[in-house]
Subunit: 154 residues, 4 copies
Amino acid sequence: MSERTHLPADPSYEARIRDSFDRQGAMATIGATLDLVEPGHVVVGLPHSPRIGQQHGFVHAGMLAAALDTACGYAASTLMPADAGVLTIEFKINLLAPARGPHLRCEGQVAKAGRTISVVDGRAWGQAPDGAPVLVATMTATVMTITGRDGVRH
Amino acid sequence: MSERTHLPADPSYEARIRDSFDRQGAMATIGATLDLVEPGHVVVGLPHSPRIGQQHGFVHAGMLAAALDTACGYAASTLMPADAGVLTIEFKINLLAPARGPHLRCEGQVAKAGRTISVVDGRAWGQAPDGAPVLVATMTATVMTITGRDGVRH
Amino acid sequence: MSERTHLPADPSYEARIRDSFDRQGAMATIGATLDLVEPGHVVVGLPHSPRIGQQHGFVHAGMLAAALDTACGYAASTLMPADAGVLTIEFKINLLAPARGPHLRCEGQVAKAGRTISVVDGRAWGQAPDGAPVLVATMTATVMTITGRDGVRH
Amino acid sequence: MSERTHLPADPSYEARIRDSFDRQGAMATIGATLDLVEPGHVVVGLPHSPRIGQQHGFVHAGMLAAALDTACGYAASTLMPADAGVLTIEFKINLLAPARGPHLRCEGQVAKAGRTISVVDGRAWGQAPDGAPVLVATMTATVMTITGRDGVRH
């Protein structure tokens, strides 16, 4: 989905993002893992489990949204300066097919990296019974780069 | 936020929705509770806890989205026939302020109840240090009424 | 839809906004009028005409979106300093019912006015054959306050 | 952006869509043209003109949204039966850069073609001063296939 090549502004972006991910209680609670961190591109894995299911046993749309939102936010973060924070302003998700596993792959890919505002495309893939990948959700997330005390008010 | 008065098509809507909620593993995992079920209006409560936090300790946007999406889906479901299912097609959330608690109140209110497609407004309220309510997120969710085998393909 | 009372930062906000509206060729082309400008609240009128219709004769969703987006952007602008510009980052619209007139009323109401980012709710009303108002669309718009050369890159 | 190959259900889809486009007063009013119609993929062109500008002379976000929404709706329509109609349920647009021309290329590409609900990705490209394409907006549109009297209520 990438429109262009992105260069990170911070050579230690991966360590910074992995450290941040590890401090997210929500990601541990839903069992998400940080599977890939590249410039402008992050993959979060989400193993299917009844603990994150909805009433029919598929992965709850909100749990999928949480993993995708995380992938999108960190994808933008890979391109930010080391001292910047990332704030999700809004996201929108379309649920295309029931989210079944055993494993969901949630990708964030930066569409536009701006000084203040970045836009990230998210895609989540589940698996068909034969193991073939199935696109189960698409997301667009708008995130803001925050520096200094900007995080206090937005 | 209601534009008009809604009448439920199924007198046992509350029992049906409470039963469905109890079968959602994801809601138990994040600690959400079903606090109010009225025609066209549902409130889901979400106690703040490090288990659903992001890296700065606020409630993760995805956890908030999960609780709001649930409130919105059930709000639409209150107006559906007893044998209908509800499927979220898409939702969009704006994060307005850091989500802090001790308690988040996530409301879904039907804006338009259609035969096939319903649109629901969601609002999540946190608390300021003095206990005053703070609007932390707004959502719009589009849900589909599914009957019979419609749930298989959408 | 207002959550609180808003105070304008610029006493001449109405003249500033009317002047800006008059410079929008698109608004003249679709026949839109600026009907009300209040702090945090703007109404744009859109007379139904075949010139803005889609293939079935209703108002084209995009024309409605254009009028609503304008109402939302200016609603945020009423609360900004005199030298600030307003930039729409994104908007989302749900079409609830066929948009018929003779007159569409497109309202923007600020939900959250932030230093950098504001979120505005939009609602468009058409008319039933008996003249009763019909909610035909809802919008959420995210807008950014731009000052100085910020407008060049975002 | 395509995830798979799409096959049209109606061999005369192009004639059907061109005929529908020609009946859209709004498209003539803003000067849009139907430049490409393929299975699952439609391109609408929009020449830059002061008639569709906003206060700074760029193309108004709403005019761009109208052209993109049209491209997205017809992209879904290419895959529908001959007697089906297409109804936009909702769309969301992110504005990434000022929309300048001389010519805007607005593409719709089906991400998921469903029996009832289809999801379409939209992208709009403008031009830099040196003529290089610039991605100016992304859209996600959710459209519904309507048959028989379904169009009356949704």
